[in-house]
Amino acid sequence: MQKDKDTNIDTSNSLLAIKGLSKSFGDNLVLDNISLAFEKGKTTVIIGQSGCGKTVLIKHLIGLLRPSDGSVYFKGERIDDLSEHKLQKIRTNFGFLFQGGALFDSLSVYENIIFPIQQHHKIKNYEKLEEIVKTKLTMVGMDGYQGYNPAELSGGQKKRVALARAIALSPEIILYDEPTTGLDPIRSDVINELILKLQKTLNITSIVVTHDMKSAYKIADRIIMLHNGRVVVDGRPEEIKNHSYPVVQQFINGQISEKDLKTIQLSSIGEEVAKLQ
């Protein structure tokens, strides 16, 4: 068994693990020595303020970004140092739901969903392919939209089609980058229910990045909070709710810090503009 003495991360028995991961962009340190292991079939939600490195973290899990330091493991195999060519095969085990959906503008909904299938399989039976697309779209409640272009869909519909595309290759792991951002509360709940349904019916391992606490409590088996590039809390949703750390309470209750409040109260909006005249 391969175990890290400092972090107790079991990389060989975890489906997905990161060890001592750090990432800098120039002088800006975004992730600072993060070690985590993700359990199979569970939904892990990563929370934290905007710009704290949540998206950067999940992009490392699929090799879209390379770490400045540390390592990433998938089924015990180190993947962060693999070539792009070798990573391509590993990425077929993952589905990635991008924040804006990232549907291909030039392709229809049908073509978007068959894209990953076409890339990795020789298609001989197109009737069967249509059936697969229908099944995937039915799972996300979008059957009948095969002929639409992404530009004709609403934000929520785009995310649901993007989710159908993410599950097209029946992946073991789905990474969700802020799946409910920009959606109304009802549409957000639809996405939450879809995440739960996929986990229950397909036993998919989900890693969700969000700052929507309602969504986090609903779908999470485990919540991790990032702050200033480090993991500050890691536990079950109930543990997070009752956590004593002020940063956690401020975040989950959506409260401004006293320092920021004072700055806003002392700032004189309008007077600066008046001085210019």
Binding site: E84, Q88, R91, F98, G100, D105, P116
Partner: protein, 277 residues
Amino acid sequence: MSDNRKRSMLEQFGGSVITGINHCGEFSRFHANAIITSLQAFFIPKTYPLIWTQMLAIGVRSVPVVCITGCFVGMVLAVQAYDQLAGLGLEEHLGVLINISVVKELGPVLTAVMLAGRVGGALTAELGTMNVTEQISAVRSMGTDPIRYLVSPRILACLLLTPFLIIYADFMGIIGGYVISVLHFGINNKAYWDFSASGIEMWDISIGIIKGFFFGAAIAGVSCYKGFNCKEGAAGVGQACTEAFVGSFIFILVIDFALAVVFKGIYASLWPIRSLL
């Protein structure tokens, strides 16, 4: 103080040099990868539909604008050169002057410049928008090489069709020159074509067309690179388009000069078998 300032200037200079070298390295790696992948794609029937689609957008839809460019180049040359030659009583030699200029230099170069604006701008804007909306990351996340899926078809379409577009431009340039010289200035029809035929060899026409392969590859290569490395936002896409056009234009001129030297050397070495050419 002055020492500090000197060091900071030195640091700035050093930083610029390192950034420049990094860009050169990235540019070279991107192109090496694109060339290898394009050669592979040429023998993979699965990529042919992607190449046809790009051929339609890049080649077929450029025919009208290239024909108009060629035609006006021929007409302008006739108008500008007629007075000088008529003054010497050599107006019947106008055909050879127009046609050799068109087939050897102006046809290929102006067609390439026109394509750099029309096709290069469109490629950079399309790929740049795909980059900022994470569609290129989506291609990678689904285990597909974006160079193979997005860059190779564009490079192959541009490389294969630019020589044909040069043939169209040459043809229209010859027609334009003929219309002004013979129909407008009243130069003897037979003398015009006889002098043209005696002054232009198959070699002259061939080198103009061969240049097209290099120009096409340069336009698509530079435009795709700029699209892939486009900064975020509308301004980023705009800047990438401008840089792509300027970069392609400079590459066209440099390649034109280099090929002129190379072809001259080849022609000199083939002089003994000139009649066969």
